[in-house]
Symmetry: C2
Subunit: 244 residues, 2 copies
């Protein structure tokens, strides 16, 4: 039997070059959308609705959603939450629905869905091993899509893609150079991951805004939760049947 | 005085996200267009005209050009040359003009010019040190543009970008994550460059076509020539004043 393929898409701008139909697309926005989503489900959120704009996001307040909006690494004024994982640890969000819009992550999630992915899943270092085990069980080809920064490449998303590549290399056919590079990068950086990521443009951006000092460290923790959020229709959910 | 910037563009599909006006764009197609162009000038070619299609390329036969055309790693039938560096070592090409079309390299060169680069230069491992010294002298910001493979990322072009980044990091401000990653990748792979590149999708493609066995090794040689080809109008030339 032919093995399923694993490919890495380094930025959403390159997604149109790849075939997504029938595949699982794992969306990766380590700093911070997909990390925060994992935290939200770990805290007990019911479902998350990714939306395109803060304006659209605000509409869902009328339907008893919590509304989270981030632009350029900063919480948009007047919203319940921004995009820091610590905000999603608040026990008050348990059993609530969240409408969520971010600069890169929610955009990549919507793009993956529009391009016909069979399943869209949410990856972060926090659920790395759970994601790897779940992907092996699905018996489908996989695209790892890095959300990047405004369609440009970023380091931390690629490092996570590389971590997954290295866990999955015996279970998938991996022929693409992006996957090969991501795997090499993670191998090189893993002993010193935080220092490498702190050099990145995104972490530098956090430094300039003088917030989220601890977010980088938090989002680089490996395997703190055993869950795999996936899209069902327009929502991201985390049903027990996909937890591993 | 503020330092000039150095950025790495991982595929031509991402070039529209970058400002090219007033900058030097170094086009990189290690396997094999920009390596072969360096060889051609080393052999004594007068000028190279990058063209978009084999049909357009063929027209220049009437004007006493040699015509070189490659598609999908194979020489197009009926042309004087394909894209192997060994073909450009033939002393018969000395003082001739060449019209040249390739799958990725010539396309990236034309894209860089259309996007308003002040200067387009031709980089390869063969002229790595010459390129680094020349770039420092120009006192302009620099984009390193990897030609990739059909707009997708490739490993060998990124490794060369990383080699240049590592040579230039004290002379330029380097803030972009692609440059940081490329530098790390080259640092990791350089001791074993040929083995790493032979794993790449492009080298695998060569293997399948059973040709160019020696091209990979040839194109990974460092600093075998002391020249910097640049565009002047529609042509690539290698005037003595830019040699270092």
């Amino acid at each position: 039997m032919e093995q399923n393929k694993l490919e890495v898409v380094l930025t959403p701008a390159l997604l149109p070059l790849y075939e997504a139909h029938g595949k699982i697309v794992v969306v990766i926005d380590i700093l911070r959308a997909t990390s925060s989503m994992c935290v939200a489900f770990h805290t007990g959120v019911t479902k998350i609705l990714p939306v395109s704009t803060p304006e659209e996001c605000r509409l869902f307040k009328d339907f008893d959603f919590l509304c989270a909006a981030e632009r350029n690494a900063i919480k948009v004024q007047g919203f319940d939450m921004g995009n820091s994982p610590f905000e999603f640890q608040n026990p008050l969000i348990k059993d609530r629905n969240i409408a969520f819009t971010t600069t890169n992550g929610t955009k990549a999630i919507k793009a993956a869905k529009e391009q016909g992915a069979a399943v869209v899943a949410i990856g972060s270092f926090l659920n790395l091993n759970a994601m790897a085990k779940w992907l092996v069980k699905q018996q489908k080809s996989v695209l790892l899509v890095c959300a990047g920064w405004k369609d440009k490449y970023n380091l931390e998303d690629t490092l996570f893609a590389g971590a997954l590549v290295n866990l999955l290399k015996n279970d998938f056919t991996i022929e693409c150079d992006s996957a090969l590079s991501a795997g090499l990068l993670y191998e090189t950086a893993s002993a010193n991951l935080e220092a490498v990521v702190r050099k990145s443009s995104h972490a530098q951006r956090f430094k300039l805004t003088s917030i989220h000092e601890d977010d980088v460290q938090f989002c680089l923790q490996h395997n703190t939760m055993n869950l795999v959020p996936v899209m069902q229709g327009e929502y991201i959910v985390c049903p027990s049947q996909v937890a591993v």
